[in-house]
Symmetry: C3
Subunit: 242 residues, 3 copies
C-alpha cells in the first residue's frame, strides 16, 4: 500500500515529520496501529477500507485529509467512476456542501491523473433492478408516517433517492450501503442506522465486515461515534439471527 | 435568481464545469433538482430558502459554500443587517468558532459590495416587546431543572439569550426562529427541536413552511439529519392540532 | 490575558476590526461577555478554559480558531507537551482527521516558538498506575455487551485506550477527562457522557468545575449542545450525591 504519509505521497499532505514535530506518540500510533495495524487486518479489504475512510472524511468535511485519501483510494482499486459516485451519493446523505468540498479536491486529483469524462458515470444509465415489494413497503410506511408533515420530502425521498440514486449502477448496492452506514456512524446519526444497516446486510455486507467497519471508523471518526452506534448494531445483528 | 454556479457568480466558487469534471450526475442533480427544482418551489420564498441555507452552511462550517451563498442571500432580499444578525445569532446557537468562520467570509463580501457600518445592526437597539409570562415560565422551568447543575449557564441563558439576543430587532422573531430550527436540524440536535419549533410556530412560521424547510434541509444538511428530525416535528404538529 | 483579537495576536487571525465590519453586536458580545466576562470568571482557571476551548475547536474542526487558541493556551500555562498530548488524545476521541487538522496548525505554532522535540511527550513513558479493578470491570462489561459484535474494537479499546493512551503521564487524568467530556459535549455525543463524566469526577474534577465547563462550552460549541448534555449531567450529579 502507498504510505499516505511518505514525503512523495502528495505535495500538500502532512508527512511523518510534521506529525512527529507535534507529537512523536501520534506519529507512532499512526504508523504502528493505524497504517501497519488496522489497514493490514484481513477482516476488510483495502478497497473497503478506502471506501469507508473516504465516506467518513466527506461526511465530517475533514478537507485536509481529502487529497491523500482520494489518491490512496484510486491506488487501492476504487475506480474513478466509483469515487465520483461516492461524492454524488454523499450529496444526499451528508449534505450538498459536503459533496462540494469533495468536488473541489477530486477535480484536482482527477486532473492530475488525466481522468476523462468518459471514465465517469453518465447522468443516465440503465438502472439496477428494483425490489418493488420492499420499496413499496418502505414508501408506504414513510408516506403514512410523514406524508402529512412534509409531502415534498416524502416524494423526493421516493423519486430522487430510492427510485433514482440507489438504482444507479455506478456503485454496487453493497458498496452504496457501506458508504451510507459509514457516513451515519461518522455523523452520529444513530437513529438512521437500523434501516440502513439492515439494507446493507440485505445487500451482501457480512456481519463480520460490519463489525470491522466499526473498528475502522473508531480511528477515523473517533471512538465515541462508534460506541454510540454499537448498541444499535448489536440490536440489528440480534434481530436477524433470531 | 442568480445562478450560484455560473462562471461569473463569484471568483472562488465552484462552477458547473468543476462539478461535471468530477460527477456529471451531480451537476445534473444540482441543476435540475436543486436550483431549478427545489429553489423554485413556492412553498417557501426564495428569501426564506436563502436564510435557511445560510444557517445550515454556518451550522456545519461548510466554508467553501459561504462566499456564494452569502452573496446569493443578499441578492435575494436578505438585507446586510439581517445577514450580520444571522451570524451573531449563530455564535450562540452553533458556536463562536462557527460564527468567526462566517465573519471571515462576510467581511470580504461586505467590503466588495461597499456595505458600510451604518447598514449593520447597532450594538444597542430598542428591544422588541417581551412576552413576560412565557419567558417567566421558561426561565422558571430551566432554573428548577438545571439551576443547581450550572447556575452560570442558567443565568446567561436568561440574560444573554432570552432577554437579550432574542429581543434584538435586527431579525423578525419568526426569521430568528427559522434560523434556529434550521441550525438544530443541520447539527442533528433533535432534543432541542420541540422547544424551538413550538416557538417558531408561535412566532408565525406555518406548518407548511416548516415541512418545506425539512425538504430544503434534506439537500443542504443531508437526508439523515432530516429523517431524525421528522418524528419530533410530527409530534409537535400533532400536539398543536389537538 | 493575551487578547486573542488584538492586531498583534497572530497574523492570520480575525481581529476586532474584522468582527465589527460584519457585526458590531458580535464584537461587543465577544469583548464584554466572552473575553471580559466568561474568561474572567473564577469557577474555572484560565488554563482549564484554554484546555476545554482547544478541545472544542479540535472536536468541531474549527480550523480558523486553531492558531490563536493554540497560542493562547501556551501563553496561559498549557505546556507544549500538554497541547501535543491533547491532539494525540483527540485523534482517538474525535477522529484521526480532526487531529491531523490540529497537527498542521500546531506544527507552525511550535516552529514559531522554537519548541523542540525534547519538550514533547515521548512515545513510551512510565505509565500511570492502573486501577485494575475498575478497568477489569469496564473491560468485562464492554466485552460481554459487544465482544460478539466487533471483537477487534473491544480489543483495541482495552489495549490502545484504557491500558495505553489513558495511562500516558503527559496529561493528568483529570485533564484528560476534562478534554474528553468537552469533546463529547461539543460533538453532541450525549450517550457517552455518563461514563466519561463519572470518570472525570473520579479523577478529581469537581461538580462546580463540570457545571462551569457547560457554561464555557455553550459559547464555544453553541447553546444547543449544552442543553442536550444538561439532563445527562444532572442525572450523574444526582446519582453521586445519593
Amino acid at each position: 500500500m502507498l504510505d499516505p504519509m511518505k514525503p512523495d505521497a502528495t505535495a500538500a499532505s502532512l508527512i511523518y515529520d510534521d506529525v512527529r514535530s507535534v507529537s512523536p506518540a501520534l506519529e507512532h500510533y499512526t504508523k504502528e496501529f493505524l497504517l501497519d495495524g488496522l489497514w493490514k487486518r484481513g477482516a476488510l479489504s483495502a478497497r473497503d477500507r478506502n471506501i469507508i475512510t473516504v465516506a467518513a472524511i466527506i461526511a465530517r468535511i475533514q478537507t485536509r485529509e481529502m487529497p491523500v485519501h482520494f489518491a490512496l483510494a484510486l491506488d487501492n482499486g476504487v475506480k474513478p467512476a466509483e469515487l465520483s459516485e461516492i461524492i454524488t451519493h454523499l450529496a444526499f446523505y451528508a449534505g450538498w456542501g459536503n459533496a462540494m468540498a469533495a468536488v473541489a479536491v477530486a477535480r484536482d486529483v482527477f486532473r492530475q491523473r488525466g481522468i476523462e469524462p468518459d471514465q465517469l458515470p453518465p447522468v443516465d444509465d440503465k438502472p439496477l433492478p428494483l425490489n418493488e415489494e420492499a420499496e413499496g413497503e418502505r414508501s408506504r410506511q414513510v408516506g403514512e408516517n410523514f406524508g402529512a408533515v412534509s409531502p415534498s420530502l416524502v416524494q423526493n425521498t421516493t423519486e430522487l433517492l430510492f427510485r433514482g440514486l440507489w438504482l444507479r449502477p455506478a456503485l454496487a448496492p453493497r458498496d452504496r450501503s457501506l458508504i451510507t452506514v459509514s457516513a451515519l456512524i461518522a455523523n452520529g446519526q444513530t437513529a438512521q442506522i437500523p434501516y440502513h444497516l439492515n439494507r446493507a446486510l440485505d445487500n451482501g455486507l457480512t456481519t463480520e465486515e460490519a463489525g470491522e467497519t466499526l473498528t475502522h471508523m473508531a480511528f477515523y471518526a473517533g471512538w465515541p461515534c462508534v460506541f454510540s452506534a454499537l448498541p444499535v448494531v448489536k440490536d440489528i445483528f440480534g434481530q436477524r439471527t433470531r
